[in-house]
Symmetry: C2
Subunit: 256 residues, 2 copies
């Protein structure tokens, strides 16, 4: 049975997509069978793997509208063991279309259920908001990873997010647990990163991954080559960090 | 009569809040009377000016619910000529609450109308999404500034955003015009910034500000001190860039 992990934070630009792509790729390199699912209308996850989001037969949007089985939208990637469910920009319409739909919060959960025995991990990327797409992701997930940028605005967002997770747990998904908070874009040149990290350790009682993702130019460049960091720059600090994160996630979730 | 400018981009973390705060502050330094309005439930604009978003009597949320005049929520800042309408996190509820409200798209436009003769500029910061709060901002605005991060994912977002602006123009605000696209976080160390900027100039027919905001550590640090860059590090490259932007915006909009 797959571990379904939602990468979530309504604060924008904190490294959700970068984490979804590179964690999924490194878990596949560790021999795990992984399904990466793009639930963001910006289609960044799909683009970051070099897929043209405008020329796809089936996407997650068709699955949410109950018109397509998830298996019809699944496509292979350049990494052995990693498959992708792509997004297209008409997903932006789903937020509005789902408002009046029946069982609107559990559409994604029902769409991925038939595939849960085919993968060890399902990683879901999402938009920077707490709307219906994120609610679908949190309802389908067993656990969440919260990327937090080591910059000033990072911490208020966390309080709001934990509040929303509590609402989801009470009404839609009692099992939902926080796998951990991941510090991203850590910049050793400035005291700010250390200050944010220190403040997080004081205020947040949950698990903080010991892996910290450094700010690394290679991670910015990789998506423009349509490749995860393990293919674009396997010896970079970015690749080393995401490889260490994949080990940590595997240790936490894969019972040998 | 005020020029109402909405800072908008549904892509997260591109520098919307940083642009809103520092453009507003530098316009005030140029002797303009400026009202900065925080329409993001993350309250980053409010925090970036050192205001405690949890201890406010009145915020933009109360104004949208028609319970308070905007004038009651306006507060002074450390900069002469710059006033703030703060946000609180209960603004997150507005997206849902407004869905069934009457004339839900024009709430902000009607709330700010009585103040338009008291300011030369009204600058509106918003969330990284195209929901009802952003629609309110775009309906109240005369023009928009679109910050674009010089990184790979920046350009798809622009196509979607221009599409949304077209919809707003046709149904809610025929006058809405794009004042310009602003390149942010430009990093001369990597070819990527130059590539994104080149691609933008080829594909985007509208106005691109000649001011480019460099990636500058001082801009990251300033909000943690509750100050705009002009107070925190007035000689930094970040302050120089936002000062140049304010000049450009003033030239475009203020007819002597
Ligand atoms: N550790 C890092 N070092 C340097 N750049 C990074 C790092 N992580 C992400 N980036 C870059 O920062 C930008 C934002 O990252 P990303 O798109 O992954 O964030 P996001 O949270 O998914 O954004 P959104 O909220 O819009 O979905 C991207 O251009 C990405 O390439
Ligand atoms: N030119 C710059 N150089 C360095 N850091 C910057 C620059 N502009 C913004 N930042 C930092 O990058 C982060 C994202 O910027 P900001 O919060 O302004 O983006 P945003 O678009 O408002 O994000 P959101 O989509 O969440 O509203 C912040 O921590 C900010 O301090
Ligand atoms: Mg993303
Ligand atoms: Mg912001």
């Amino acid at each position: 049975m797959a571990n379904v992990i939602s990468i979530v934070n309504q604060k924008g630009g904190v490294g959700k997509t970068t984490t979804a792509i590179n964690l999924a790729a490194h878990l596949a390199l560790l021999g795990q069978k992984v399904l990466l699912l793009d639930l963001d209308p910006q289609t960044n996850c799909t683009m970051g793997l070099g897929v043209n989001h405008a020329a796809l037969p089936k996407t997650i949007y068709d699955c949410l509208r109950n018109e397509t089985e998830l298996s019809e939208a699944i496509m292979p990637t350049a990494i052995e063991g990693l498959s992708l469910v792509p997004a297209s920009i008409d997903l932006a319409g789903a937020e509005v279309e789902l408002v009046t739909a029946l069982a609107r919060e559990t559409r994604l959960k029902r769409a991925i259920e038939p595939e849960l025995d085919n993968y060890r991990f399902v990683i879901i990327d999402g938009p920077p908001s707490l709307g219906l797409l994120t609610v679908n992701s949190l309802t389908a997930a067993h656990s969440v990873i919260i990327p937090i940028q080591c910059e000033y605005y990072a911490l208020t967002g966390l309080t709001q997010l934990l509040h929303t997770l509590g609402l989801i747990r009470r009404s839609l998904n009692p099992e939902l647990d926080v796998l951990g908070v991941l510090l991203t874009m850590y910049d050793a040149r400035t005291k700010l990163s250390a200050q944010v990290s220190e403040e997080l350790r004081q205020h947040f009682r949950g698990h903080i991954f010991s892996t910290v993702i450094p700010r690394n130019i290679r991670l910015t460049e990789a998506p423009s080559h349509g490749q995860p960091i393990c293919l674009y720059a396997p010896d970079s600090r970015g690749a080393t960090a995401y490889s260490a994160l994949a080990e940590e996630v595997k240790q936490l979730l894969v019972k040998e």
